[in-house]
Symmetry: C2
Subunit: 575 residues, 2 copies
Amino acid sequence: MNFKQYIPAFDWLTNYKKDHFKGDLSAGLTVGVMLIPQGMAYAMIAGLPPIYGLYASTLPLIIYALLGTSRQLAVGPVAMVSLLTAAGIGTLAVGGTATYIALAITLAFLVGLIQFLLGVFRLGFLVNFLSHPVISGFTSAAALIIGLSQLKHLLGINLGRSHHIHEILLEAFERMGELNWATFAIGIGGIILIKGIKKINKAIPGSLLAVVFGIVTVMGLGLTAQDVKIVGEVPEGLPSFVLPDFSIATMKTLLPVALAISLVSFMESIAVAKAIQAKHKDYKVVPNQELIALGLANIGGSFLQSYPVTGGFSRTAVNDEAGAKTGMASIISAVLIILTLLFLTPLFYYLPNAILASIIMVAVFGLIDIKEAKYLWTANRSDFWMLIATFVATLTLGIEQGIGIGVVLSLAMIIFRTTRPHVAALGNVPGTHFYRNIDRFEQVEERPDLLIFRFDAQLYFANTSFFKESLEALVAEKGTALKTIILCFNSINNIDSSAAHTLEEIVEYYRTNHIKVLFTGVRGPVRDAMERAHLMEKIGRENCFMGIQEAVDFMDGQRLKKAEDMDEYILQTNE
Amino acid sequence: MNFKQYIPAFDWLTNYKKDHFKGDLSAGLTVGVMLIPQGMAYAMIAGLPPIYGLYASTLPLIIYALLGTSRQLAVGPVAMVSLLTAAGIGTLAVGGTATYIALAITLAFLVGLIQFLLGVFRLGFLVNFLSHPVISGFTSAAALIIGLSQLKHLLGINLGRSHHIHEILLEAFERMGELNWATFAIGIGGIILIKGIKKINKAIPGSLLAVVFGIVTVMGLGLTAQDVKIVGEVPEGLPSFVLPDFSIATMKTLLPVALAISLVSFMESIAVAKAIQAKHKDYKVVPNQELIALGLANIGGSFLQSYPVTGGFSRTAVNDEAGAKTGMASIISAVLIILTLLFLTPLFYYLPNAILASIIMVAVFGLIDIKEAKYLWTANRSDFWMLIATFVATLTLGIEQGIGIGVVLSLAMIIFRTTRPHVAALGNVPGTHFYRNIDRFEQVEERPDLLIFRFDAQLYFANTSFFKESLEALVAEKGTALKTIILCFNSINNIDSSAAHTLEEIVEYYRTNHIKVLFTGVRGPVRDAMERAHLMEKIGRENCFMGIQEAVDFMDGQRLKKAEDMDEYILQTNE
């Protein structure tokens, strides 16, 4: 067994240097200090008691540190996955109840299992089906939903459980009279504090200061009397070993949301891991091993009361900036959380929910990506609409549905585009051997007896009719002077059996109409496919040429080589 | 309003010649004579009393003759659509009952409405998504199911209502003792008669002779006493005007099967219409008008007790061979059926079901296409598996599911193939300006300081990682001598915004590593997309060339033109 392959930590453990520890210690403590408020806040998004955010910040971090291929990735609770958890099990149980908590933990197990299996079966590439615009539209919408889900904590109004933004906003507006001014003031104070400190010095842990500010204010001014909601009793001690619910019925119910979380969380994690790795040359991120590491982190965590975790954007960036060199940094973060669980939980009794809400809002509103939408408006209009469609679908139909619709739409668009691809009639650029689109280039020369046709897509069942029709239209334009058609296969990367049938028909049809059909620049794999379909025999190998100029020369009777060399020449060099 | 466009019959009606009538009369009578037994047999497949096959052979034929663009297409009941009808409404009502009949007629209305709307909104191209292998696999499986569904009529055993072939065969085998020898003998006689006559002379209407043979045998030998099942009382007279069931609930229930029938029947119809049109130069088949014509034929028919119809393979071929010149042939066929309904129905009283079964079996077993499967085995292995998958799915999961799975699988395959496309490192063919794949051509020359990379697919979100990784792998092979990368964009037909982001990253990454990145042969639409994404500025227009040789010359400092002409030259001619 190759330890280094299965347990990448061996690589850095066996070469661990004193120098590494300095960076790892500073980064580990910084991320740990961030994790305390973030973990509690994200647990709140997920509909769980805050302590579960800390439970999720212990064992999973250690497992990932040993099995993951990234050395800076900071694993733990993140906003998006927390929201997906809430959306997925919110319909099955009431938030915060024992049933709800048990479902969240089982969900972690199931997510872990799916990720582990995807990794083992090397299916990590599936995440490639999430395009830029879909990710951007989905993230912005999810950020908006997460942010607004915290509005009730910020205003101190007990809003309904709607996930629809217009309903949330309408209800908040109607019940503005119930606003708890003390809660609102603390929340706004927290936002200003975090934003302000970020501007002054990014190294200061703003959210931790906001936590201290919140606790001190509530205790000092006795604001619980003003009905300011606080975290209250936080159980002391480590998470206990509890088996997830393995019943088939539960697994079946949770499967769709577990699939969505598996892919979305892996996508978030791999994106940030790759971005950070690009700055470091001493290791390589391996997607399938990442799936295995995240999968086992979630499975392991689920036995110690953890809900789904993944590698997060902000903490990973902080981890790297603070000097993390190896997975040791994450282990140090986990140790800090364990110490907090053992000794510091009583301190959080007076922590106001409004502070946790302010931490969440600052974090997620930064994810709303208007720049990308603006860029796509000019750069790629159809991708812009894809972003908008995913954004709107996520907001109106729901989190998982939104990303599903985005993926299906973007694949449909790819297919649809190939059904009516770009085609061109080519002419000669005078004095060169180049042939270019006559509609784009004024100076190219066209001959009445020759049509050079280029089709810019793989030729397959969904576009063979279009191929035939667009060729027919160009042939009709040429009229009776036409003697030869050159099919420029430069940009045809693949043909299927429907295409082979169509090409055979076309060659036969024009031949009976006394028009020669020549082929140029046929790619290797396409030529192989033509051979297997016995199409080459019907076309005639002597009608295939390397370049358009060679076909034109042949047509004009100026053979490049002696006739007897022709066959071999064509066969060997034609691609 | 342009009559000729909306009512194509004006075209042939206004130019109608005596000469046309001779062909139309002979063809119309021949097809009409075929229609009597076929219509009754296909109604039996659909689970309807035989008379409904004759009803469906009246008004729809006349409507199509006036509105359709094909002049030889013979519309009416066909085997495949009849089977789909049975599969679709068989679960909703018991075959032959009034409810069942009402559902079949409503189905015709709904199919017609869908086809009409598809035509009006010019969505006829949707049928292109049915690939050759999917059609072939589906047709063979459907033919097998149809054929076996008639086994009970051929054996005279009242088998269960299973659509699963292994269950049908097993039951038939187990209950072979119940075989009705007289029924079986008549059925086999019918098959031999039809097949034999076909071999001797195709012009003789074999199925009509089989009908006569069946009636005469049953009457002459008094076989009803032997429990030979006969058609029995056939109502006299024309179909009556009955409104389809317009309730939303019924429409909703029938919608999925109506969609499947709309597409499958259009596909069958347009395929045969186009095939026949290729032999005639005096008209053109217009797919969207075909949808409108078939749609109105079905809608109109549904008001006169017709079940779904379409243009059929065999009768169209016969129509054309018998000399049909215009839609008048179909009108004559319809008139013959109307006369039959008025005066001849009593003749069919003693027609044995076994004869109708033999007509169906001969017709459909001819559709089982083993040749195509054999061809694909060598020609295109993945299309072969696609055929098998559709075949198996249709047999085991059902008629509509089979075709749905086929379409989804073949699109998934197209997508999947583009995620890991063919890539090549190119080298120079000595003494020419050609550059070819170094793995395919031994004589090409490679330079240690230059990597020429070609990627054979559109570049989009699902394959940007693969692009990056395969380029990285080739760069790593080259080692430190590498100074320049030429990205040959000849076969990249499209880029999306994810691709634009990736290309920007790649150019920046290699530039910081002191490796030049040049682009050659960028297609017009791709260049436009690059411009809009502001990628051209980042790449530098001076790094784009028409051909690989030009880029190599530039790299070696041999500029083709004076430096000051360079920019314009590149901009104008680079494609």
